[in-house]
């Protein structure tokens, strides 16, 4: 494959990936509610959005749940990652393997299983159930990202600190945590994204009239298109792209230059 053909191919794939998103963003500024052309610039749908209390309440709930998820999953996941890195102990392989089911099993299965269990034990559906579920989905991501950062950390540094008389907590707080801070930040942003963009699991765990933003959008789409959805969708895409751009700044996952 010649270099030019290769670049054209890559370009075509990028067009495929971004065209629908770009068209949606453009249409959110089109005056016609039926995507009619010619294009006529208007911010009507964003103004409408500003007056849509239901949409705003769902957005606020999504943000609260995603923040709580990021906070809890990062704390629990970082602690587990440090222990898995620092010690050799029986059963460690099993614990590492147990991180894969939440990532690998289709969300449809995890979501319906959570619905059954939470209903049976009396937690039911709603915000607590959503946080419980989202944190579980995010923990493996945090552990994997923090573990990747820990692999670049020389254990000799911990030993040196310990031999100079520092206790386990001091070593962790003064030596280990500062080194892996970029990994922790990236893990937290991932956890936030896992929760904020989550649809399938939320769909089963949210209560009608008390939903997250993606679930509300889904309900609205199934009732029939409204251009307001374009507007809110465009804002969501922009927000998550910004978030992932930030992740890429603190945590390089494209390999070496």
């Amino acid at each position: 494959m010649s270099v030019i053909a290769g670049r054209v191919f890559l370009g075509a794939v990028l067009v495929f990936l971004y065209l629908p998103i770009a068209v949606m963003a453009l249409m959110s500024f089109n005056a016609s509610p039926f995507y009619a052309l010619p294009f006529e610039f208007s911010t009507t749908w964003y103004t409408r959005l500003a007056g849509n209390a239901e949409m705003q309440a769902a957005a606020a709930r999504s943000l609260i749940i995603a923040s709580a998820t990021a906070l809890i999953a990062t704390a629990l996941g970082t602690a587990a990652a440090i222990a898995l890195w620092r010690f050799e102990f029986p059963g460690k392989r099993v614990l590492q393997l147990l991180l894969f089911p939440p990532i690998a099993i289709p969300w449809l299965i995890t979501g319906t299983a959570m619905l059954i269990f939470f209903f049976s034990v009396g937690i039911g559906r709603g915000t607590p159930a959503l946080i419980l579920g989202h944190v579980a989905l995010a923990i493996p991501y945090v552990i994997v990202v923090v573990a990747a950062r820990l692999r670049t950390f020389d254990p000799v540094l911990e030993e040196a600190a310990r031999s100079l008389g520092a206790g386990a907590w001091t070593v962790t707080r003064r030596i280990t945590l500062p080194w892996i801070a970029p990994g922790i930040v990236a893990g937290a942003l991932f956890a936030f994204a896992v929760s904020f963009d989550q649809f399938v699991v939320s769909y089963f765990l949210a209560t009608p009239g008390d939903t997250t933003l993606p679930v509300l959008i889904y309900t609205a789409i199934r009732k029939g298109f409204t251009p307001e959805i374009n507007a809110v969708s465009t804002l969501i895409i922009l927000a998550s792209m910004l978030l992932m751009f930030l992740v890429s700044r603190v945590f390089r996952f494209g390999g070496e230059r």
């Binding site: 494959m1 290769g6 670049r7 191919f9 890559l10 794939v13 990028l14 495929f16 990936l17 629908p20 998103i21 068209v23 949606m24 249409m27 995507y35 629990l76 602690a79 587990a80 222990a83 898995l84 010690f87 050799e88 102990f89 089911p101 939440p102 690998a104 289709p106 969300w107 449809l108 299965i109 995890t110 319906t112 299983a113 619905l115 059954i116 269990f117 419980l132 944190v135 579980a136 923990i139 552990i143 386990a168 963009d197 649809f199 089963f204 993606p214 959008i217 889904y218 199934r222 298109f225 959805i229 969708s233 895409i237 998550s240 978030l243 992932m244 890429s248 494209g254 390999g255 230059r257």
Partner: protein
Amino acid sequence: MALARRDIVQIAGLISPAYLWLTAAVFLPLSAMLYFSFLSSAPFDGSAPVFSLEHYQAFLDRPLYRGLLWKSIQLGLVVTVICVLVGFPCAWVLAKMIRGRWREALFLLVILPFWTNSLVRVFSWAILLRGNGILERGLDAVLPFDVSLNLMFSYPAVVIGLVHSYLPYVILTTYLSLQALDDSLIEAARSLGARWGTILWRIILPLAAPGIIAGAVLVFVPVVGSVLEPRILGGRAAGTFYGTVIEDQFTAVFNWPLGAALSFILLAVVLACLALTAPMLRKAQT
């Protein structure tokens, strides 16, 4: 190696919160679902649970469920093949033909959509594919003849939406394995007179296989259990798959035990797929 007592306390203290949470929110729910799948009906009215195999029997007896599972597996295969055929050259160009800052920027561009909201991306295709939609008008403007392109609520629409959702996975994993591939191997083969086809077949593909297979599994597994893309892009006629039937049991029909049994059969398919590819996936990790 013997562990000191204080080490054991430390390990337990650091690890147990995360794993207790996973147990409460993933492993116990999966167990509860397995239990439910053997119940005749959901025990929410206070009646004593009646155990039965009827829901698994229903899967075996009724061609509807078996047919839909097969249809979903086929959909998974089609989407996986397309993703590999498009993703492999893409990863190759990124890993071997572009250098420096451009590579980093383009790589980020390729995987960025993947971390954006999947629902929104599927919805954006709905705008494009509608009859008299943007795509049809755009093609009409460019091509000299009249095109009539109403892909919305069709099988191709579902496939397009799924490829769009999962293509970045294949590009990511293939790219990582191609990056580890030593260019001097290719040069050596070339200087010995090997043709491009031979080099691709005998050197590049075997060495990149773990990455390609890892990507393929990451696509296949969620596609077999997909709900969103069939619902939004397939509509009523073309959008009935195994996953949507499971969803119906929980949100429309309220036959939770049947839904649980169907979910577990899907889980068995997923686990079989992971087990088959596990040796390859382990290679991809190292």
